[in-house]
Subunit: 327 residues, 2 copies
């Protein structure tokens, strides 16, 4: 009989590890904002996926728990700094760190999270530390490169679909890929299986981000907990926008671009007008097709992992739940 943890068990395990983190410093002023962001909740997707990947290969996941909690600390580090850069006042319904404290505090408390992440990884079984840290650190640098592209895109007039995919691959997908691979390494996966799981995670991450873009416009807002069309209101170049720009006629592209740049519409009006263009061009369907393709790729890589099918079921359920958000 296998000992398989489900998503809800793992989330509890991760949350408990995050609450019990030790910080190697007595500076409450420095750490209070860290505790604040880590207590805001969220799916804990990265450590949960990592533990599921670990659990694929091993009934015992205990040794991986604190190290993979570091993935959540790192993810939140990027959120704290991204929110400064985006000038975002709210995250998950709470004031962002720079809004609640100030920008300097958000820079500094963000910084320390990068080293708290290391601290978590330093609790790895010693024979795995170098291997795991290499995978993590490569992803961390790529995430910064992805954020750079995202910043560059704000100023760019035209962003192609390929450029957009490259950006979300770096900014979002590689960390999910690395999380899954790292979990697999803790579980004892061989290099080939670990690599298959990296590719699984990367495709899942791409599907997840595009689905996120779709839901921002077309999702059930009560379920999703955001304002409908928030990305449109902020003028964020999402997959839908980029796809519509490529699919539309010159006229439609120009109209979309003008709408996005314009300040002369009420937010709701702007959302309505952009959505009308999306509908004309069948963008929801086209984007969902892309999500489905990445999802299929992800599951294809998972299939190639050399482990009993029954062990994979939790991860397969999680895959659908993340990329489809159960819709």
């Amino acid at each position: 009989m296998y000992n398989m943890y489900n998503q809800s068990d793992l989330k509890k395990i991760v949350n408990s590890a995050l609450v019990n983190l030790t910080y190697n410093t007595k500076s409450d002023r420095l750490i209070d904002p860290v505790k604040y962001v880590l207590s805001m909740g969220g799916k804990r997707m990265r450590p949960v996926l990592a533990l599921m990947a670990c659990n694929l290969f091993s009934d015992k996941i205990d040794d991986a728990v604190i190290p993979v909690a570091g993935l959540e600390v790192f993810h939140n580090f990027t959120l704290v700094h991204d929110d400064i850069m985006d000038n975002a006042p709210v995250r998950r319904g709470f004031p962002t760190v720079h809004a609640k404290w100030n920008v300097n505090q958000a820079i500094l408390s963000g910084d320390v999270m990068a080293f708290i992440t290391n601290e978590c990884f330093l609790q790895s079984p010693s024979h795995l530390l170098a291997k795991v840290l290499r995978v993590f650190n490569k992803a961390a640098i790529e995430v910064c490169a992805g954020q750079q592209l995202d910043m560059d895109f704000e100023k760019a007039t035209i962003v192609t679909q390929d450029e957009y995919i490259q950006m979300i691959e770096l900014k979002t997908a590689v960390l999910i890929a690395a999380s899954v691979k790292i979990g697999a390494i803790y579980g004892g996966a061989d290099d080939r299986d670990a690599e298959m799981l990296y590719e699984y995670g990367k495709n899942l991450g791409l599907a997840f981000q595009i689905q996120d873009d779709i839901l921002d416009v077309f999702g059930d807002m009560k379920l999703f907990g955001k304002t409908a069309g928030g990305d449109i209101i902020e003028g964020k170049k999402t997959f839908l926008y980029v796809r519509a720009s490529e699919a539309g006629s010159l006229d439609q592209r120009k109209k979309l671009q003008d709408l996005y740049l314009s300040d002369s519409f009420e937010p709701a009006e702007k959302v309505k007008m952009v959505t009308e263009i999306y509908d004309l061009l069948n963008i929801k369907f086209l984007s969902e097709k892309v999500v489905a393709d990445y999802l299929k790729n992800a599951l294809g890589f998972l299939e190639k992992v050399n482990i009993a099918q029954e062990r994979k079921e939790v991860l397969i359920r999680m895959t659908f739940s993340l990329a489809g958000r159960d819709h």
Copy 2:
């Protein structure tokens, strides 16, 4: 015959390692600011001290070079972010990253330097990685806590001498201590010697920072390359200020505090008036005495290191050069 490197050799070796760093990313926009700050020069004190400590125990230092270059990358990471927080336009005679690019770019390019630091350490001999990374990462968290105290002090009316020492210990001394200890570990030092060298580095770091505060007011500005009394003009609570506040009468303390807070004086006039109070209270002499004490402590710990005296000579020369700045 020992193979001992001198300060100038080591600085060249470190600079060459920094120029040849690989960044694991093709994002020039992200990395250009990193190359920019790393090309600004500086003493490379931390990696040079680390290599000297390595060289104490081993004629061969090659394996340590790239890892300890990470100490310089980390130090510059803190400078990039500190300069944002301090709103500083110039560093070492060059525009700061946020001044040359913008604040968001300085946050992001700073962030990636934290992971480039890890990347350097990941090139450690594998049996030393965990040990070295633990020492570094503890120091990194303490440096953040030190910057937190420094930020807190800006708003505080009174800072005691003990509080000031605690702040510079965290913000400056522990990284120098960790650098020396890390170098010693690469050289093959045993735990006791590594610990002695940590204490040596901590005391050297304290001496160095207080000497820096003294030179800002009383140094030969042509040699030092800064504006005389820059700290006074910026209202920075230095060791001299804190010492004078404790040594002065209530009247003198009030006068000093008012002067520091006031905007109604010309910079040169303000520097002159504060310096007069320092002179009345003999602050230069008192502070130099404290530097000498820390220096003596440092050399005492170095003496306890169980290695031939001839091997220690380069490090002893460096010690005097850093803490006394050859004055």
